[in-house]
Amino acid sequence: MNAEALAFYALAAMVLVGGFLVVQSRNLVHAAISLVPTLLGVAGLYVLLNAEFVTAIQILIYVGAITVLILFVILLTEGATGLRVRQRNEQVPLALLVCGILVVLFLVVLLRVPWGPPTGPMPAYNPGAVGRSFLMPYVLAFEVTSLVILASLVGAIVVARREG
């Protein structure tokens, strides 16, 4: 077992355990805090996959922004998120079944696919390639995304604004 594998398994464990805590914690604040190791683990996986730029973004946005945002909201809506309140709905068994089957199916698919060897040596990682992709073939997607950001910005302000 080489270092890469070791790192992978450690990160995978971190991700999955974190994820389990996210969905399982009765206390929402705990769940939100468990989100941090999960997302960091994913970021680690990105490092293993030679995606340093994505890693950076992942940490910046997810860990830095979204998690904090979620924590704020939990605090803002304190009255409804306490431990007194039932946190699960009535379809737990059904959901468990469906999710289980789905995961099993995914795994079956993974196992049945004949993965060939990697398609050759990785080229040197180059964030510039990502930039070029964004601005040349995917410029439309890029623009649309920015529009979506704008819209969500405006939308969030309008929705959350205290009416008066």
Partner: protein, 686 residues
């Protein structure tokens, strides 16, 4: 001149347009427009007529009016002896009536409207006469029907006038519809509506002319059928039995209208059309269509004369007399007296217009229509009396007045071609003299009785106020003679009633015949070897004798009262009320057609609302109930019995409703399960 004949109907039309839009502003000057237009028409019309007299060839002009596939429907006009002499008559008599109306209608709040309608009427009438296709003829024909409608109901405040105008339009429309079907049949047969093309085709008797149709079990020659259908129009318009009922009621209109439309011109249109379409009738097997025309005419003449005997309204007597005389004309045409029938049409226009106008003068003076309330008027109205007398003598057929010559022609033809018709027509001639003498006796002789109930003013004070006039005061002391503008036309027409007949004097034309015979001749007779019988003195004396006998009998009964009419009335029993009530024909029509039609309409309306629409609503109701049932069962029964297309969607919606909880996580669960299913399926195929 003939090339300009298209202008003849256009002058009155222009006058109509001017009066319709500017009539109110013109006010008292309105008649000048109408009379001026009529004078121009008369000028052109007489020019064309004199050209024809001088022997000019007939002039025909056509234009395409409408297309149907590769066929065309043409309109146009013909100037030939028949149309030109009729145009001359209409413009002359019509013009005189216009002049008379200036006096008669003065002070009426709708003065301009009256002249507008009269002008439109003349435009339609002249169009109809000059037309050279059934299409244009029909257009003119219906326009005069419209004007008749408008003018009968001119006093539109009166309920009786409203009813009369509807009766007139609808009754004639029945005839017109038959004629329309006839024209359709002609178009089917010959593919054209042009007079000349059709007449040429029937004369040659080709394949299409001798076609036969099956009606039930009968084989009817198509030519006869279409001729008889076309005859439906004249039956309606010329008040022939059984569609004569409208004409007496049409007397609700102002008197000049009665004179112009319901005596001199419009009602003669039917006769004119039969004359115009004579080949159509003549070239049927054994002239059978003409036989029908003859018998309808004879019957009408006799029945109307009988009914005239029992009427008390001066205009109604004249109306029945008109019907009777129109029957005479039809009978004349029917018994192969082509020229005779049309000659009578011309003379009749003069003396009947005269009689009506004179009657109008009488009514103007005494303020009632009832002859029982008149009497002794010859002293008060000398001009009216003498002119009326001229008309009376012409109508009765007394030598040398116009009626004598033309009626004698008809009787002559009937004597030679149809003796039964001759007998009946002679009886009618007797009756004619009788009822006319009765009228004269009651009106002008004896003592003045005065109206018990003067006619109410047809207008309301608001009408006068709106027109800026003052309501006239109807103080009827002693009757007084009408103004010159009214008596002038009377005198002119009286002269006409005397002299017009002279064109029928034997020897005025070539070969010892009369001029009118020569001028109006039907080519088919010569080809078929039919010769017009020549004038015979014994026959003429006999008809004169009949007329004088009628006058004498009337003199005994109504003048000398040797046998008072009351006694005769008691003596004949139910015959008098039978005649007085128009043989109950009007009542019968009222019950069968008017009430029956309204009842049927009401019944169908009920049917429409409750049955046809009821079915629709039932279908709707059933679907609604079905969907309610679904709502009841929606948790238990998955029932697909939603069988109406429009409601399938809603039914399905109701079925699926329990699945739609509105909770997003339920939906996501289903979506996830669906995703699993998709993976499973793709695994299967992997």
């Amino acid at each position: 001149m003939a090339q300009l004949a298209w202008l003849v109907p256009l002058f009155p039309l222009a006058s109509y347009a001017v009066l319709a839009f500017r009539g109110r502003a013109l006010g008292e000057r309105a008649p000048y427009v109408a009379i001026g237009a009529m004078a121009l028409s008369a000028l052109l019309g007489w020019g064309a007529f004199l050209e024809q007299v001088a022997g000019a060839p007939p002039y025909v002009w056509r234009a395409v009016w409408a297309v149907g596939g590769e066929r065309t429907l043409t309109v146009g006009y013909t100037v030939d002896p028949l149309s030109s002499i009729t145009v001359a008559m209409i413009t002359l008599v019509g013009g005189l009536i216009f002049v008379y109306s200036v006096g008669y209608m003065r002070g009426d709040p709708y003065y301009a409207r009256f002249f507008a309608f009269l002008s439109l009427f003349c435009a339609g009438m002249l169009t109809m006469v000059l037309a050279n296709s059934f299409l244009l003829m029909l257009i003119g024909w219906e326009i005069i029907g419209l004007c008749s409608y408008l003018l009968i109901g001119f006093y539109f405040r009166r309920r009786s006038a409203n009813m009369a105008q509807m009766k007139a339009f609808l009754t004639t429309r029945v005839g017109d519809t038959l004629m329309l079907v006839g024209i359709m049949a002609l178009f089917w047969q010959f593919g054209t509506v042009d007079y000349h093309a059709i007449f040429e085709a029937v004369r040659e008797g080709g394949e299409s002319a001798s076609a036969v149709v099956r009606l039930g079990g009968w084989e009817v020659p198509l030519a006869t059928l279409s001729a008889l259908l076309v005859f439906g129009g004249p039956v309606g318009k010329s008040g022939q039995f059984p569609l004569h009922v409208w004409l007496p009621d049409a007397m609700e209109g102002p008197t000049p209208v009665s004179a112009l439309i319901h005596a001199a011109t419009m009602v003669a249109a039917g006769v004119y059309l039969v004359g115009r379409a004579y080949p159509l009738f003549f070239y049927t097997p054994h002239h059978e269509a003409l036989a029908v025309v003859a018998w309808v005419g004879t019957l009408t003449a006799l029945l109307a004369a009988l009914m005239a005997l029992a009427q008390d309204d001066i205009k109604r007597v004249l109306a029945y007399s008109t019907i009777s005389q129109l029957g005479f004309m039809m009978a004349g045409l029917g018994v192969l007296g082509y020229a005779a029938g049309l000659f009578h049409l011309l003379t009749h226009a003069f003396f009947k217009a005269l009689l009506f106008l004179a009657a109008g003068s009488v009514i103007h003076a005494v303020g009632t229509n009832n002859i029982k309330e008149m009497g002794g008027l010859r002293r008060f109205l000398p001009v009216t009396f003498w002119t009326f007398l001229a008309g009376f003598l012409a109508l009765a057929g007394v030598f040398p007045f116009a009626g004598f010559w033309s009626k004698d022609e008809i009787l002559l033809e009937a004597y030679h071609h149809a003796p039964a018709v001759y007998a009946l027509l002679s009886a009618t001639a007797f009756l004619t003299a009788l009822y006319m003498s009765r009228l004269v006796a009651y009106t002008f002789f004896g003592t003045y009785r005065g109206p018990a109930h003067p006619e109410p003013d047809p207008w309301t004070p608001e009408d006068y106020a709106r027109a800026g006039l003052h309501a006239p005061h109807h103080g009827h002391g002693t009757p007084h003679e009408s103004p010159r503008v009214m008596t002038g036309p009377l005198v002119a027409l009286a002269v006409g009633s005397l002299v017009v007949g002279f064109v029928g004097i034997p020897g005025t034309g070539p070969e010892g015949g009369s001029w009118i015979h020569h001028f109006l001749k039907f080519e088919g007779f010569k080809e078929a070897g039919i010769h017009a019988p020549s004038f015979s003195w014994p026959l003429a004396l006999r008809s004169l004798g009949v007329a004088l006998a009628g006058i004498a009998v009337a003199w005994l009964v109504y003048g000398l009262r040797a046998v008072p009419s009351e006694r005769i009335r008691a003596w004949v029993g139910p015959v008098y009320p039978f005649l007085r009530n128009r043989m109950y024909i009007d009542a019968l029509y009222g019950w069968v057609f008017v009430r029956g039609g309204l009842l049927l309409a009401a019944g169908l309306r009920w049917f429409d609302v409750h049955v046809v629409d009821g079915l629709v609503n039932l279908v709707g109701g059933v679907t609604v109930v079905t969907s309610r049932l679904h709502r009841l069962f929606d948790t238990y029964v998955v029932d697909g019995l939603v069988n109406l297309v429009g409601w399938v969607t809603r039914g399905l919606g109701l079925l699926l409703r329990p699945l739609q909880t509105g909770r997003a996580y339920n939906y996501i669960l289903v979506a996830a399960a669906g995703l699993g299913l998709i993976v499973l399926v793709s695994l299967w195929r992997l």
